[in-house]
């Protein structure tokens, strides 16, 4: 699905060859500051490599229109920003930005359930707790019509039970629908339980794969 060839990004990343396969859950682990988030940003073209190339389904990313690419490779950022308005407004943000027809309310309710967020669609997004905001942001991303999902520490602000529930749904659903997932996590348990492939990053380089 993704192939890195001699990729350098500033003095942060040095990835001569890294491959991420389609249809599986790949997890990036590694110490803070090792470059995991930067890799995700490269994958959905929020930034581009200083040198080298990244291929997506065999095509050079530099040649794929960025906005279109971001619509098919959806990303949950590490500290997602909330838009003013309600929980519902935030769930619909992606649809509005992409000018897609809005979904039924039942689909939104279902998403709230899937991310374990017990709030009404009309409640204010700004008044949610940190973990609730994170789950809302996750729901917002899950609603996107993408083939690849990038999750940057989706469960860092969640307790263990909620974490298990959310990650299970997330990976389970994606697998059913044949989606590709790239996950960044600091949790050893999450990495070992849910991933098909674990990539260890340290100092901007690949240190190992399992």
């Amino acid at each position: 699905m993704f192939e890195f060839r001699d990729v350098l990004y500033k003095d942060i990343l040095d990835l001569p060859d890294l491959e991420i396969q389609a249809g599986i859950v790949t997890t990036l682990v590694g110490p803070s500051g090792s470059g995991k988030s930067t890799i995700l940003r490269l994958l959905n073209k929020m930034t581009s490599p200083t040198s080298g190339k990244i291929f997506f389904e065999g095509k050079d990313l530099a040649e794929i229109p960025s906005v279109e690419h971001r619509r098919s490779v959806a990303m949950l950022t590490q500290s997602p920003a909330m838009f003013s308005g309600t929980v519902g407004d935030n769930l619909l943000a992606g649809f509005r930005f992409q000018q897609r027809p809005l979904p039924e309310e039942t689909e939104l309710q279902e998403t709230l359930y899937n991310v374990h967020l017990n709030k009404s669609l009309a409640s204010s997004a700004m008044e949610l707790s940190g973990g609730e905001k994170q789950r809302l942001a996750l729901g917002r991303v899950l609603l996107m019509d993408a083939t690849v999902f990038l999750f940057d520490e989706p469960s860092s602000a969640l307790d263990e039970d909620t974490e298990r529930f959310v990650i299970e749904r997330l990976t389970g659903q994606a697998k059913e629908k044949g989606k590709t997932i790239v996950l960044v996590t600091h949790s050893k348990a999450v990495a070992e339980t849910y991933s098909d492939e674990i990539v260890e990053i340290a100092g901007g380089k690949v240190k190992g794969r399992k």
Binding site: N44, K45, M46, T47, S48, A62, P65, S66, V67, R70, R71, A74, M75, T77, S79, P80, A81, F83, A93, G94, F97, Q98, Q99, R140, V141, M144
Partner: protein, 260 residues
């Protein structure tokens, strides 16, 4: 109608009493502004005397090239003032956008105003061209300044929201929609507010000047109404041009936000 009372030099000197009052106040309170107050008074006096003589010369020798030179000078000065105000904060591309939108916005409105509304002839008649150009360019400069300030602040302070929108598949245009609309709103508000208060809270300068010089208030009012609308048009056009062209300078050709 009686004519205007010509101010003699001793009379003008009497007006400097106000400067001494201000100097007295700041000195008594220990506010260190004497230098600026003196300097600004002297500069204003010299600049206006000079302008007076220049205008006399221009009015007596109307020439299209002189008029063109004056409008170019005004535009250059206005654009330079904006650049100076945001020194070091504007990218080269944004500067180009500012220059282009200010010139295009003001010139379109200016020529429409002079040729279609006032219908001056010849088109370069400096008696109309110069003061009206001054008002239109000056007000548009203030509007664009406000616009640049709020655009750059918006793009820095709401950078995370813009990024989030991009991540969620927005085009740069959609991602910056709110910032641009708020900026436009903020930039034309002063003009709209001054229109609201006009004639009640204050009498605008141009109208006051015309009335003092013995022109019938109705004529003065007609001019004031027209010029206010012209200013509103020119401010809006310059600012919206600056915004629709300017937002792009915060993104690269890969639709990624550029680090400032």
């Amino acid at each position: 109608m009686k004519g205007i009372i010509d101010l003699t030099i001793p009379q003008i000197l009497l007006a400097y009493v106000f400067v001494f009052v201000v100097l007295f106040i700041v000195r008594a309170r220990g506010i260190k502004r004497e230098r600026e107050i003196l300097l600004s008074s002297v500069r204003m006096t010299l600049q206006l005397i000079l302008t007076g003589y220049v205008l006399i010369y221009i009015f007596e020798n109307p020439h299209p090239l002189i008029t063109i030179a004056i409008i170019l000078l005004m535009e250059g000065f206005a654009i330079g003032t904006v650049f100076q105000k945001f020194k070091g904060k504007l990218s080269r591309k944004l500067k180009r956008v500012i220059a282009l939108s200010m010139s295009a916005g003001t010139l379109c409105c200016l020529f429409y105003f002079l040729l279609a509304v006032v219908q001056i002839s010849p088109w370069y008649d400096p008696q109309y061209f110069v003061p009206i150009a001054g008002m239109i360019v000056g007000n548009s400069m203030t509007g664009v300044s406000l616009g640049i300030k709020s655009l750059t602040e918006g793009m820095t302070m709401q950078k995370n929201l813009v990024e989030e929108a991009l991540v969620l598949g927005a085009t740069p245009k959609t991602a910056t929609r709110d910032i641009i609309n708020n900026t436009f709103d903020g930039a034309i508000m002063p003009t709209i507010n001054s229109m609201l208060g006009m004639g009640i809270v204050f009498l605008p300068g141009m109208m006051t000047g015309q009335i003092l010089s013995g022109i019938a208030p109705t004529t003065a009012i007609a001019y004031q109404i027209a010029i206010m609308l012209g200013i509103l048009g020119s401010v809006s056009l310059s600012v919206i041009l600056m915004l629709v062209l300017g937002y792009r300078t915060f993104f690269n050709e890969q639709d990624q936000m550029v680090d400032s």
